[in-house]
Point group: D2
Chain length 343, copies 4
């Protein structure tokens, strides 16, 4: 049995901290050796709090550490290309949070370097490691619902991000930023997407129009198999975090998801009430842990990555096609994005 894997985390902001804390305390087969963050003092502070011996303000330092076998990149999307490419060239295994990059050009460049160096790259799409999505996958593979015919996916945030993060130039916009998770699991259950059509609007937050983004969207899809799909996205689930899916097949259907966070039900004159899942971290806490354990085990066992760079690119193309459809008010073939990518 292989020993513990020495891991470094690049980026210990909000999400990076979750990953690093999991690696420090809850992944028995990993040893968190070092953290890096370009924000002054952040890596040092994390290292002190969790008793990690080494910390860096640049990813170069961390990548230069010969003890480190694998790196986890949770930095801003605009830096992904540099991080992954440098890590691959430094001979490290890489885990990178989605999305792989802001442009298809960058994504293809990353894939090229990964192939050239033979580096191990696993992309972060935590929904694939959630008990519900995973359980549904097993059921589909067992044939419990026959052939999947229609895929439905709902992702709704309880509030909009600060406007600076909504800027489509930074986040990719609602469809790319949120929808990429739905498009990824769509592929997992249903195969490749052929065409998409999107409608949307800045309905709940008129101020989003000014930055060129929307807060609600519906994307319908036709898969290469002829199967159908629809993704609903929203930024105004005022009651909580609404993540649901459905796989509709020839022999039955699987409903995925839940609303209630705390298993108590209040019954008063005002009605029968329960609370809601507050946000993504509560909903996917276990999935984030399972995902990084999976990465560590895949590297340790020299297995293939569970989610590849090619998977990330495929989901990205769907979101770009949906974005184009919304803007051009016509159904758009995902292959049209592929053509664009070759430029």
């Amino acid at each position: 049995m292989p020993g513990r894997l020495n891991v470094g985390v690049i980026g210990v902001g909000r999400m990076g901290r979750v990953y690093a804390a999991n690696l420090a305390q809850r992944v028995p087969h990993a040893r968190l050796v070092a953290v890096a963050d370009q924000k002054p003092g952040l890596a040092a502070s994390f290292a002190r709090e969790f008793g990690i011996g080494r910390f860096y303000e640049s990813h170069h330092g961390l990548l230069g550490d010969p003890d480190i076998e694998a790196v986890v990149v949770i930095a801003s999307t605009s830096t992904h290309k540099e991080m992954i490419v440098d890590a691959a060239r430094a001979g490290k295994a890489v885990f990178c949070e989605k999305p792989i990059s802001l442009s298809l050009e960058d994504a293809h460049e990353i894939l090229r370097v990964v192939e050239e160096t033979g580096a191990f790259l696993q992309m972060g799409f935590q929904r694939r490691f959630d008990a519900a999505y995973l359980g549904a996958r097993r059921k589909v593979e067992e044939g419990a619902i026959g052939t999947p015919l229609v895929f439905t996916s709902i992702s709704r945030d309880p509030f909009r991000p600060p406007l600076e993060f909504c800027d489509p130039k930074v986040s990719g916009g609602l469809i790319a930023d949120m929808g990429i998770h739905d498009f990824d699991v769509a592929r997992m259950y249903m195969g490749e997407v052929q065409t998409v059509h999107a409608v949307g609007g800045a309905l709940a937050y008129p101020e989003m129009k000014e930055i060129g983004d929307i807060d609600n969207a519906i994307v319908d899809m036709v898969f290469e198999s002829g199967s159908l799909g629809v993704v609903q996205l929203s930024r105004n689930a005022v009651f909580g975090y609404d993540i649901r899916g459905e796989i509709w097949g020839t022999k039955g259907s699987i409903q995925i998801g839940y609303f209630r966070q705390t298993p108590i039900l209040m019954m008063t004159r005002e009605g029968i009430t329960h609370d809601a899942v507050p946000y993504f971290f509560e909903r996917f806490e276990s999935a984030y842990l399972t995902q990084i354990q999976d990465f560590v085990d895949k590297v340790r066992n020299q297995a293939r990555p569970s989610v590849t760079g090619a998977d990330a690119v495929a989901a990205m193309k769907i979101s770009l096609a949906a974005q184009a459809s919304f803007q051009e008010k016509r159904p758009v073939g995902v292959h049209e994005m592929a053509v664009a990518a070759k430029h």
Copy 2:
């Protein structure tokens, strides 16, 4: 195929009106010929509203009507003995709402006359005709849960009745008035009860102490088979009407009941909310109709009554034993009631 059954209804107060309206409009195999009510003008008013040709202010008039083949008795419990006995002697088939009487002595007298006259008597325990309780019965009979081991039953009213109706001398008290439904279905699923033990209190409405009644009770039971049971009764389900059951067996369990009246779910900042079943009429509307249809069909087809006078007496004994247990603070054998009845 037998023709339509000519029916008269004795008592068109709140519940009697429900029965009579069902018979007038929703039971194709019955013809509502006459209604009677001792309250002046009530029978006439009902007859006018529903286009019924005959009405009486005394049950004697209705029973003297030779066209009437069957009577439905929905009068106050204290009059049941007279009504049933007179109807049996007049050669009418009888349906009588539970409970059969206020005392075991009266109940035994009724049974004696019914036997002597060969009259058809079916008792009203609508829960037996509810889709949920009926569905559970079929599942038990099919062996879906193996041998039933533990029976749980919950009956909770949204508010207490007016104090004059709570008087145990009139209503029999909480345990008899409400619990008799639970004891009846307990027998249906589990067989005869051997001993009961009851605890209770005037917890929500201190004013009930003054009239000698309680508003919450728990009754545990041991069946003759050795199986166990528990009945929970309450008058303060402030959110609505709470009727639930459970049959726990060697191979599984059946949960009976539901909370939500209207199939909509509200999701707001205040939480995720639905409404509740308001009261017994909404909960058992279909059961009341099915029950009276069943009576009509049983009479028309000269079949045996679905729920007999003996069933009503058996449930009554359990409630009397539970009442005695509560007062004497000891487990009481149901057979002790049987002895008392022989005086």
Copy 3:
């Protein structure tokens, strides 16, 4: 208070029988005077069974009956124009089951005659009278969810109709035949639809391709207000009948619908299981009754119809636009249908 309304039913096939039986037995303010059906013997047989005095094999006979004040038309869609026009000219109030006609031209002709004669015409869209859809409407009108932003509607049948009824020339095809209910409630909650886009396929029943129909479809919509909508349609809900809706607003969301028919839950080694709503009649039994009661009361009280011919035409245009979108693989404006209708 106006007296009972004398009603005749034209068409006592499967659905007509439901309407006629309701009118015969469960609508106190109506008197079912006559039935007509062109299928030999059917009207006579119904009349005999329900004790109705008059029956006809042609609607002309029924419309010539001067006692009849109102007619309920539940005949095949291809005959609707003739029936409504003849009834309107005979001075009868008319209730007609959806859809109003097979073509927009016929629908406009009907509306013209209704306007010309001043006839009362109410269209049958029973979903509007369902407790859940009605409850949701009240909540929306009360402002419980703020401004509605996204409407979701799911309609799935447990099996496909016989192929002869699937023929789009008869049924209008999946999108018109099933979707019209969804488009109707969409308008009720959200206002008028501007554009639609539809995808679909014969996924579950390949034989449907031969008759030119599909068995699964997704239709996205943009309302004139800028709000969004999506309708999912299917013919292969193998577990039962799946009718759901959602209205997503600035202050919350309403989920409409339910899966379970019988309120029991089975808990065994095989899992925790309940049954499903079998089909439309069980799901909408009360709604059909409430709807026809509403028609009777509206006529009796000389009120305006709850659902007009114009409502039926508006829903029809959406379904035609969706059908065109599916065939032409482009978003289609509902106004394009309006133009076509003028020819």
Copy 4:
């Protein structure tokens, strides 16, 4: 802020392993310094697997370690007195899994030594740290349901333990072994219990009669406040693990618990199905972690224990009274147990 607490775990069998692994990896404010287990090799093996430096085959060795500030005792109940007394005398803070001992005499001896030495003793009743039970507690304290009137608690295991563990001399029998959790939370929500009455039987596993135990029981309770309670216990929840509670108050009710483990719903011809919570570890995984974190924090902050030895004794007395009631077939006052304890 106090530093990390040095902890030793005594007993690394099935449950002890859970505690020790949590302390090793998931409790940031604790440092697992040593483990002990009298079973040869078990402590060493655990230490090797988790990288713990010290291990012992006797608790004396561990208690003699001056670095250790606190010990967690997860050994068999019959050894609790010796472990707690020795630890208290060695000046260690102690966490001990329920029950505190097999006899009230031993429990009182433990309490005496704890008082005498001033040792910190916190008892393990993980249900108090479960999100649902905790959330319900907050709601009760906020007054959300007014005054609690009736407490209901259900605890059902998916199967019986091996017969050797069922022996009432070892486990205390069904009522003590399982019911103690229900009696503990009963006290938490409702205050002290005055009298109990229990019925039960070896209904599912006849072989349990031979060892003098039962597999199903119902215990009703009257609290000192006059409020009521009922506990249902079973060893044959064949579908999974069934843990539920209800607190019924003057202004409403709280339902506690859930059935479904994985948030997916399967809809097929066989019905609509989900899975069940498999067993206690899945149900209370988070509660066990929260509980031991709470212990560590309470010791570090020199706060009072969340659950005291007196709490453990109080729950024990209720279970002994219930056991006596079952055997003597009469209601038993909890104070009768208190008297016995003074011998």
